[in-house]
């Protein structure tokens, strides 16, 4: 119980790092489990020479890098009475699409998320980790270098390569995003 109380202070951050790295809730939970099991087994030998959080997030970075996503099919039980394509508010996506004033923005948001997931999937584990830690988690490059136990120059190289790849793969979405913003802006002015 004491261990669980300890990790409560940090576990949301660990899950956030995992989720921004792999963009998949099930994989993020896998990483979360692996991190805290490793920590649980190793904590008797932790010497407290560095901060616990620093060590914990370093373990998280390592687990992310070595994680092999298990091909879990989206095999969920569904009631035959339950409508498919249901949104979080219980309405079907069909209903949401026809009645929501921000239809275009919501649809676009879902598509962007999917494209980002695919684009990040094409990066190497190191590039993906650096990009997610910098862009989503706000870590400085020096901090990322410490977490990954490598030189700051190496981290910069991963970031540049990752950003270039994302820029290439998201070009059409980026162009559409600008169009969408302009369109929405015009809509607001009407």
């Amino acid at each position: 119980m004491a261990f669980e109380q300890l990790i409560r202070q940090y576990d949301k951050k660990v899950l956030a790092i995992a989720l921004s790295y792999c963009k998949d809730a099930e994989a993020a939970k896998d990483i979360y489990q692996e991190v805290f099991l490793r920590v649980y087994k190793a904590i008797p030998t932790f010497r407290f020479q560095s901060q616990f959080s620093t060590w914990l997030y370093r373990v998280t970075a390592n687990v992310c890098l070595t994680h092999r996503a298990r091909r879990r099919e989206d095999y969920k039980m569904r009631s035959l009475d339950e409508p498919l394509n249901q949104g979080a508010d219980g309405r079907s996506i069909g209903e949401t699409l026809t009645s929501d004033d921000r239809l275009e923005e919501k649809t676009f948001q879902v598509e962007v998320s999917e494209r980002v997931r695919k684009a990040m999937g094409s990066l190497s584990p190191q590039q993906r980790l650096v990009f997610s830690l910098r862009h989503y988690q706000g870590y400085k490059l020096k901090e990322i270098a410490s977490l990954m136990n490598c030189a700051e120059g190496t981290v910069k190289k991963y970031l540049f390569t990752a950003t270039e790849r994302m820029r290439e793969l998201m070009k059409d979405v980026a162009a559409e995003s600008e169009g969408c913003r302009v369109g929405l802006g015009k809509g607001l002015l009407q």
Partner: protein, 321 residues
């Protein structure tokens, strides 16, 4: 090489990682270099697009589920460590009493434990299960929605300590189903719609689409259309997207289908699909200003030469009408 250095600085500046001296040098360079200004503009577009992404932060439900699973695994880990410690203690303490002074006593104790465990694992694996003899013969059942034997999966303990006589846990009850029925049955269509989005591989998704296409269908559930649109836009497999696009022709043309076709024309990486999208529009539909706008754009800027030519030809036909 020179541009590469400044383009890397542009990236660092976006994240506030550039020192003051480098910022000044970068500003001076951007005032002179159109290529790097264009790069800056593209990078801004990328970050604007990323800003449109759904928030990747974990919600409370996901965190609660992760904590619950961790608690079960920690309980199992503690139990495993406790069992192993007790077993090792029992073997080395009792069975080898009097032998402890001898060399290799611990090694013999561990070997003995392994042999015992080996027998236990072998028995658990190969012993006939009582349930197997009572399994329902699904294939011969007369019920078109015949159920197989329930399988238990994903047991998650809330309280595995049985010292008070009680335990508490969740589990998933998975029931394999064998179905033989009409494709016009709404329940069958619902399952096929699920398969065409979430089928384990492209072959399964293609077969689901094939089952949901054809003259034998009298009426299609509206969820089928939503699932086909989703497949057209998001499926990884080119063949699945193509078949889904073809299957959408069964439905009356409306705003949703128009939006799906335009999405394919604008975004699909496969030129064959973009061509199929152009060919899916009927004459009257081509007069829609949204469709004309996209075709004009494609006629000028599509990466594929045939698509540019085809778009121009279609626009020409529309103007002549």
């Amino acid at each position: 090489m020179k541009h590469e250095k400044y383009q890397q600085w542009i990236q660092l500046q976006h994240y506030g990682e550039l020192c003051e001296e480098e910022s000044i040098l970068l500003t001076a360079h951007l005032n002179r270099c159109e290529e790097c200004r264009a790069y800056l503009k593209e990078l801004r577009k990328l970050h604007q697009a990323l800003a449109a992404e759904a928030e990747p932060e974990p919600d409370e439900e996901l965190l609660a589920a992760a904590r619950l699973e961790l608690r079960e695994r920690l309980t199992a880990e503690r139990g495993r460590q406790s069992f192993w410690s007790r077993l090792r203690g029992a073997v080395s303490g009792n069975l080898l009493a009097g032998w402890q002074g001898l060399p290799y006593a611990k090694g013999f104790a561990s070997a003995a434990v392994l042999i015992v465990l080996g027998f236990l694992v072998g028995y658990a694996t190969f012993a006939p299960s009582v349930g197997q003899q009572e399994q329902v013969d699904v294939a011969s059942s007369s019920d078109p929605w015949a159920r197989g034997e329930m399988e238990i999966a994903n047991v998650r303990f809330l309280d595995a300590d049985a010292s008070d006589g009680n335990v508490e846990f969740y589990f998933d009850a998975v029931v394999p189903m064998h179905v033989r029925g009409s494709v016009n049955d709404a329940r069958v269509q619902k399952v096929l719609s699920h398969a065409l989005i979430r089928g384990q591989n492209a072959g399964v998704r293609l077969r689901a689409i094939s089952a949901l296409s054809g003259d034998h269908l009298e009426e299609l559930d509206h969820e089928v259309k939503s699932s086909l649109i989703r497949a057209v836009k998001l499926d990884d497999n080119d063949g699945v997207r193509m078949e889904a696009l073809t299957a959408l022709k069964q439905f009356d043309y409306d705003e949703q289908i128009k939006e799906a076709l335009l999405h394919v024309l604008n975004n699909d990486p496969n030129p064959g699909l973009r061509i199929a999208a152009i060919n899916s529009f009927q004459n009257e539909q081509l007069k829609d200003p949204d469709v004309i706008g996209v075709l004009q754009d494609k006629s000028e800027s599509d990466g594929n030469g045939y698509i540019r030519v085809r778009s121009r030809a279609v626009l020409q036909e529309v103007r002549q009408q």
